[in-house]
Symmetry: C2
Subunit: 229 residues, 2 copies
Amino acid sequence: LNRIKASGLKLRFCTNETQATRENFVKKLQGLGFDISVDEVTAPAPAACRILKERGLRPHLLVHDDLVPEFAEIDKANPNCVVIGDAAENFTYANLNEAFRLLIGMEKPVLISLGRGRYYKETDGLKLDVGAYMKALEYACDVQAEVVGKPAKMFFESALAEMGVTPQEAIMIGDDIVNDVGGAQQCGMRAVQVRTGKFRSCDENHPYVKPDAYVNNLAEAVDIIFQQL
Amino acid sequence: LNRIKASGLKLRFCTNETQATRENFVKKLQGLGFDISVDEVTAPAPAACRILKERGLRPHLLVHDDLVPEFAEIDKANPNCVVIGDAAENFTYANLNEAFRLLIGMEKPVLISLGRGRYYKETDGLKLDVGAYMKALEYACDVQAEVVGKPAKMFFESALAEMGVTPQEAIMIGDDIVNDVGGAQQCGMRAVQVRTGKFRSCDENHPYVKPDAYVNNLAEAVDIIFQQL
């Protein structure tokens, strides 16, 4: 990371984190020793806020308590859309029914989902992710959610716009074959898969996503980028 | 109802009720003045029990507390499938994660759903029905649920078998264009839609279900049946 920053190359951190504000996400990474600041992060909630403002949408939020501050400047009175994130403990029967009633009561229901993840692992076991609850609301209301976050094309386009570069000038480095590599490639970027974190050996035979390169760690990815300059 | 019973015609009540045992369902209808007994009722939970026994399946139940007695005789130790019904208040974040973890941990996940309803109305407003939660688990585990209850073909076949008649000898009377009329017709039965209850005038232009007849009430349906004898 320090080598990239020293080189003057532009850099964005693209995360699907929706259980915390960017502030808290950045603090966590700083605590792990990373040189990172809030304005270098592209995350689903701010991307959703941009959409809400552009389209004059007032959201009902079904999100994690810790994410609510990201929507501080958004008008939420008399909602005309629902925004769903990984709400975790807030995914109660009552909250799901409330979000559903608001959606089904809209002339044209708008459901914005901060991701389409199926599940994730925590120390106390696997948990259903936002995608599962998104599917429940989609089915009940016969609507299609608009997904913000990786692998949505719009999400990568936001990151590129923030850096002021074209897809051809950018390279994505990530461990998730579909969300990181596939999403970036669909946007016209090149993408490298890192064999750490979420990487599984079966990813190398993925039916429809083929990374432009594999690396064993982030340092190797930086080597490749410098070789191409 | 009394005219049908007096005529000697065979009769079954087919319900998708999964918030109560057949005993309680029957008591409610008896209280409204209907001549009905438990052994005249075809309902999703007993149909599911038959499947569980036939296939040696031991269910983890995510159902309404009041439905649990229907599964009294089923072995539920060391579950190898999940049965989901309209669990209402039991659709908690913890219970959904538990059902999900069991399913995803199975070598071949089996999800049996006691219906595919999207939502229903109660005195305090609309509620998400079992179908929405079924979709959430289907998506998270990448499985397809086996649906017991109307409009599943198997459900109507059970009712016919219980009466000992062929589809051609039977007629379905119901107010739900897809679940009652469509389901029965797919099973080779004729079906009449009653213009009461769930009936909506737009049903008469349904894109793919066309009842064999319309009637304004149950008495008219009985008239038609007697005319055809």
